[in-house]
């Protein structure tokens, strides 16, 4: 996973509450076998008209937000399906940080696994950032995880907090599985104390590899 320390970029405002992961990556794109290449289909049904013609009304298609890498969003961002294709698409599109008042649990968690920083700010702060973004073409923000702050070039500074463990993992781009395997002796000890192997008492039609 690529680390996240500090990122500056153009801000794109997505002014909708409860954006669900079905909107981020619709079902027809859940059939691919890779983690890459979903940027093209991010917000597919909103972003494209018939024949994949860009929908001029959708905010990410506005010329002024071309190349945006900071996504400004509303409450309960990422609700619904657990599909990790959603953060994969966000990252592949070019976003490195999200700013919102709140997130759905699974999506929030998935962001950290992919080097995306989901920053939580108050509703008022987010509202203020929407105003600033809309009023100032080319509005950029710096999201600084080392200093736990969002800043702009005009002196704005909003502090945020991230759980210290998640912060550390993101700053260093740590591999979750590697971290857990440090506790291998604990896992083995736990397994020795617990027998939890499934036993098939009545044969069912499964390719069952263990008896």
């Amino acid at each position: 996973m690529q680390p996240f320390t500090k990122h500056s970029g153009l801000v794109a405002p997505l002014d909708r509450v409860n954006v669900d992961t079905d909107q981020m990556v619709p079902k027809q794109f859940l059939k691919f076998l890779t983690r890459e290449g979903y940027g093209r289909v991010l917000f597919y049904d909103w972003r494209y008209l018939h024949g994949e013609k860009p929908n001029p009304e959708f905010v990410l298609n506005h010329f002024r937000y071309k190349g945006a890498s900071v996504l400004l969003a509303r409450a309960n961002f990422g609700c619904g399906s657990s599909r990790e294709h959603a953060p994969w698409a966000i990252l592949d599109y070019g976003f490195r940080a999200i700013l919102a008042p709140s997130y759905a649990d699974i999506f929030y968690n998935n962001c950290f696994k992919n080097g995306i920083l989901p920053v939580t700010l108050s509703i008022e702060q987010i509202e203020d950032l929407f105003r600033r973004t809309e009023a100032n073409p080319g509005y950029r923000l710096t999201v600084d995880l080392e200093n736990d702050a969002v800043t702009d070039e005009r002196g704005l500074k909003y502090a945020f907090t991230v759980d210290p463990f998640r912060r550390e993992c993101l700053l260093k781009g740590l591999d979750d599985i590697g971290l857990t395997l440090v506790h291998e002796p604990h896992i083995t000890a736990f397994e020795e104390g617990h027998s939890n192997v499934p036993v098939m008492y009545e044969a069912v039609d499964v390719k069952f590899h263990h008896e």
Partner: protein, 487 residues
């Protein structure tokens, strides 16, 4: 010596514990201040939709599946519900099936492929085969994993990175959730089902109301539900924002589980029950939040908008966006009404339909099909309907329903009787809504485009969907005969 799966953990803490806390404590592998805890995972369920990248990650890192015997795979999301003996024409779907079969073979993971007699939706077959049991930790790369909490298990959906983590370590790194108790006092009226109970809850707390919580459903009306009904409730916990929903195990649970293929028999079963009986929350256990609701105030529910919290009683009208106090809610409601092509003030009963879908991990179990079949028996689907689909949740459900003649009742009433899978709940196969079409659906999500781009979904119970299919529009099922007894 016989040994049940998990022993009651003894702790020096004297404080009463909740069901969630007992399971959490029993699965703690490692904890340290300021860090997420490492918890052990008993059952890992996977499907073709979210697992291929996890296996690819394992291979790239040269890692193995630590406990392949604890992992069960099934093909459900993209499978055809028509003739499965025909070649899979969708090359992408075929790629998913082949990848899952290959990965299971290579890593020694148990697989129910699309031709298995026990194939079905992952959250249907886990319980019906007894793979799901009280006190377990269960995860799956699917947000509706909360379904399994109906057995008094801690079950929740995870992302693909976490699937890979569980495959490699059989553990998950988790922050402990807060707990919420939702108690339904009194009895639910006839014609009101578990689906209406959970839709009413989501309408009340909102789709983010449960964020950060594990919800325990309790009270007389929940106790009175069958396992099928409890699964329906727990299934939609995630639609209220909660990753997991739970119901304490009781005699209903044990009776359901006894003699299921993966459930211990005889003396071992008795020992397992002894352990399961220690799981319910202790008297005086503290929750971070509680909500009390009266079951007798419930009515059949119908969603009118584009998330499950946009829901009202069948006798109500499509709400006026200005009736919401919060400007954010007003805006969301306005947008939803445009998408749904509905006018504020329209009686719910006047909304006419194009398709009806009875199926999904929410409502496709035998009881759901029995209840719906009683409503449609001897009647016929309305002329304005383009399609009425019944998709059993599993092939076992399908066989059992056919043994009771339910398939004939549905077919005679003008429904299509299909093979098992996720089908029109997510529309990854051919079962979709076309742009502008409107459905009554027993599934769990009415998001924009969920059942097909431009499709408009109204979530309802199976008996409400069945009656809507007959009339071509929503009707108050309480006014019909044969609505009693539906869960």
């Amino acid at each position: 010596m016989l040994q049940c799966e998990w022993q009651v953990t003894t702790t020096d803490r004297m404080a009463p514990r909740t069901l969630f806390e007992k399971i959490w404590d029993a699965h703690l592998v490692h904890e340290a201040p300021g860090q997420p805890s490492l918890i052990y995972i008993d059952r890992h369920l996977i499907h073709e939709g979210t697992s291929p990248q996890a296996f690819a990650g394992l291979k790239a890192a040269g890692r193995k599946v630590r406990r392949p015997e604890l992992t069960f795979a099934v093909m459900d999301h993209s499978v055809s519900t028509k003739n499965r003996l025909l070649p899979v024409l969708d090359a992408d779907a075929r790629g998913q099936f082949e990848a899952l079969a290959r990965n299971c073979e290579e890593f020694g993971v148990n697989l129910f492929d699309m031709h298995s007699r026990n194939q079905g939706i992952v959250h249907i077959i886990g319980p019906e085969l007894g793979i799901t049991q009280p006190g377990q930790t269960i995860v799956c790369g699917d947000s509706h994993t909360s379904t399994h909490g109906a057995f008094g298990a801690l079950a929740f959906g995870i992302g693909t990175s976490e699937i890979e983590h569980v495959l490699a370590t059989q553990c998950l790194s988790q922050f402990k959730s807060k707990t919420m108790k939702i108690e339904f006092h009194g009895k639910r009226p006839a014609g009101v089902t578990a689906k209406d109970m959970i839709l009413a809850i989501i309408g009340r707390i909102g789709i983010a109301g449960g964020t950060g919580y594990v919800v325990e459903y309790a009270g007389e009306a929940v106790r009175g539900l069958s396992m099928e009904g409890r699964m329906t409730m727990c299934n939609m916990s995630i639609e209220g924002g909660a990753r997991a929903g739970m119901v304490a195990p009781d005699d209903t649970t044990y009776a359901y589980l006894e003699k299921r293929p993966f459930v211990p028999r005889g003396r071992e079963f008795m020992m397992a029950v002894d352990y399961w009986m220690s799981l319910p929350s202790d008297f005086g256990a503290k929750y971070d939040a509680t909500l009390d609701l009266q079951a007798n105030e419930l009515a059949p529910m119908v969603t009118w908008g584009t998330n499950p919290g946009m829901v009202t009683q069948v006798t109500e009208r499509v709400p006026d966006p200005h009736s919401f106090q919060d400007p954010v809610d007003q805006q969301a409601a306005e947008r939803a009404l445009v998408y749904m092509d509905l006018k504020a003030g329209t009686p719910i009963g006047d909304i006419s339909l194009d398709r009806v879908f009875i199926g999904s991990c929410t409502n496709s179990r035998l009881e759901d099909l029995r209840a719906a079949s009683k409503i449609v028996a001897g009647k016929h689907v309305a002329k304005n309907l383009k399609q009425a689909l019944v998709v059993p949740g599993s092939r076992r459900v399908k066989l059992e329903a056919e043994a009771e003649g339910l398939d004939k009742i549905f077919v005679e009433a003008g429904f299509e009787w299909r093979d098992a899978g996720c089908s029109m709940c997510i529309g990854m196969n051919d079962d979709v809504l076309l742009p502008g079409e409107r459905s009554a659906s027993t599934s769990n999500r009415n998001f924009e485009g969920r059942q097909g781009k431009g499709g408009r979904t109204h979530l309802v119970s199976p008996i409400m969907a069945a009656a809507a299919a007959i009339e071509g529009h929503f009707v108050d099922i309480r006014k019909w005969k044969n609505a009693d007894g539906a869960e």
